[in-house]
């Protein structure tokens, strides 16, 4: 089995639901976005349009981040998901430098969105809302972080949250090794492309244009 995702660029409208959903589910602190939608302006006035590219960790089959990691904190599972063991990560950021997709973020310091707030009662710990306190309690600073394909949801038989919340159903998720799966059929029928295929990483995320 090899988990993979297919993103239909014709359906993406850059609503950033995936960005926010991922952030909310995983309690990612400020400045950390595991899923983002990149924009690019193309054309010349008056024929200008924007192109959108949702990006996340590609969970590559030959991940350069795993090769770069000196502690084995970054590793690839048998189902293709690349995960980080935060207890082994020393924060050297070699994986961040090695990733050609900018998928990794170094979590320098865990900060709340309202650092100036310090009202007694509601905020509890100054600078962190009650929700942030709950969400950040297991977070470690000084480590690299990235998308996990919501592996814990997969174990419950659910799809990654970004796939579930997309209002235009631009994302599909499934087994790339199963030729009859929806993702495999989409890649074949609509000529799905990988980002920077020339890097030789063989990403598990395909794009349909």
């Amino acid at each position: 089995m090899r988990y993979g995702m297919v993103i239909d660029l014709k359906r993406c409208v850059c609503c950033d639901s995936c960005t926010m959903a991922c952030k909310v589910l995983h309690y990612n602190p400020t400045k950390v976005f595991w899923a983002r939608v990149l924009e690019k302006e193309v054309g010349k006035y008056p024929n200008v349009r924007k192109e959108f590219l949702p990006v996340l960790c590609n969970h590559c089959e030959s991940p350069p981040c795993v090769d770069a990691c000196p502690t084995g904190a970054s590793s690839k599972r048998e189902d293709g998901i690349v995960l980080i063991d935060y207890d082994l990560c020393i924060g050297c950021r070699a994986c961040t430098a090695a990733c050609p997709y900018g998928a990794r973020t170094y979590l320098r310091k865990i900060e709340g969105y309202y650092p100036e707030k310090c009202e007694e009662g509601y905020w509890g710990i100054c600078g962190l809302t009650v929700n942030e306190q709950m969400g950040y309690k297991d977070k470690q600073s000084g480590v690299s972080t990235k998308c996990t394909f919501c592996f814990d949801r997969l174990e419950q038989g659910r799809e990654p949250f970004c796939v579930e919340v997309c209002p235009t159903e631009a994302r599909y998720f499934g087994d790339l090794n199963d030729p009859t799966s929806e993702v495999s059929e989409l890649i074949t029928k609509r000529d799905g492309k990988q980002l920077r295929a020339e890097e030789g990483t063989n990403p598990s995320v395909y794009y349909l244009s």
């Binding site: 400045k31 950390v32 976005f33 983002r36 939608v37 990149l38 924009e39 690019k40 192109e51 590219l53 990006v55 350069p64 795993v66 090769d67 770069a68 990691c69 000196p70 502690t71 084995g72 904190a73 082994l88 990560c89 020393i90 924060g91 050297c92 950021r93 070699a94 961040t96 430098a97 090695a98 990733c99 050609p100 997709y101 900018g102 973020t105 170094y106 979590l107 320098r108 470690q140 600073s141 000084g142 480590v143 980002l195 920077r196 890097e199 030789g200």
Partner: protein, 308 residues
């Protein structure tokens, strides 16, 4: 043709397709890389200078204290540093850490054998098969310490400017030149009996000339590469490139051309006494400064290709 839009994002806040500057490895890593190369280079050269104890000791201390300290300050979890032993099969950082550790152990064992308090050691003054073994292990590990940082940078293809087989060669040359510079700075403390200044200066002349040629060849090679690599060269060399002032002045001008001019002047004019020392010390200080800023500029000039 890809658009040449250089964006220096705040890491994690990037929402635009374009070239992305590497922003994680900066001053501390530049210090660690530069001092590792210079310290190991100094140690190796000192061994070949008839076991110049002061040189070996200073080289060892530079690696242990400055390089080690810089790495520990940089890491997010420095107390977990020994986890870096775990992945030598794949990671050059792991291999480099093991080599650094071995260098410090075996180099340290070799150095202490020259001190009177350790005359009881079986390998006192580096004698015997044990002394020779420690010496050569320390030399090999020192060579790895000099070169592994370049291999860490060159291994992934994400940053085309770094992904070049000339980078390790350049770093070895710069590391040895740094070692020569530090040896020259030690001359007043060790004296003419221990150190042949003219020989060291000749070595410096050869190394700096070679490094200048290597650097130019490196920049020329990457400039013919992917657009991201060309962008890196533009950042380094061209006015308004962001790093051009530092690179052109501190690395090329003061770090390579000025020391080269000084050592050639020494060669042709053959000064002596304090005049000789002042000149070579000036060249050495400039070379050490240039060596550090070379690492810094190379790190900061790393640019990723756009993802799309």
């Amino acid at each position: 043709m890809q658009e040449r839009t250089l964006i220096t994002p705040y890491r994690g806040m990037e929402f635009v397709i374009g070239y992305r500057s590497q922003t994680e490895w900066r001053w501390l890593m530049a210090i660690a890389f530069a001092t590792g190369g210079m310290g190991a280079g100094l140690f190796i050269l000192s061994v070949f200078m008839n076991d110049l104890v002061m040189g070996m000791m200073v080289g060892w201390l530079i690696v242990a204290v400055i390089k080690g300290g810089a790495h520990l300050l940089f890491l997010g979890h420095p107390l977990r540093i020994f986890y870096a032993f775990r992945a030598p099969k794949l990671s050059w950082i792991s291999r480099g850490f093991i080599a650094t550790f071995a260098f410090l152990i075996f180099g340290g064992l070799y150095i202490i054998s020259f001190f009177p308090w350790f005359a009881w050691l079986p390998w006192a003054s580096g004698a015997g098969w044990l002394g020779e073994t420690f010496k050569y292990i320390a030399i090999v590990c020192g060579a790895v310490v000099m070169v592994y940082t370049a291999l860490v940078m060159a291994q992934p293809s994400a940053i085309p400017f770094w992904n070049n087989s000339l980078l390790p060669v350049l770093f070895i040359g710069v590391g040895l030149a740094g070692g020569v510079a530090l040896l020259l700075l030690m001359y007043p403390f060790v004296g003419a009996a221990a150190l042949d200044v003219y020989f060291i200066e000749m070595l410096g002349r050869i190394l700096i000339s070679t490094n200048l040629v290597l650097l130019m060849f490196y920049l020329l090679t990457v400039f013919k590469g992917p657009l991201a690599a060309q962008e890196s060269v533009r950042i380094l060399l061209y006015k308004g490139g962001g790093l051009s002032a530092i690179f052109d002045v501190l690395v090329l001008g003061l770090g390579l051309i000025a020391p080269l001019a000084i050592v050639f002047y020494v060669y042709f004019s053959q000064p002596s006494g304090s005049g000789l020392y002042n000149l070579v010390a000036a060249a050495a200080l400039l070379e050490v400064t240039g060596s550090f800023f070379l690492r810094f500029c190379f790190l900061r000039a790393g640019v990723n290709n756009p993802v799309y």
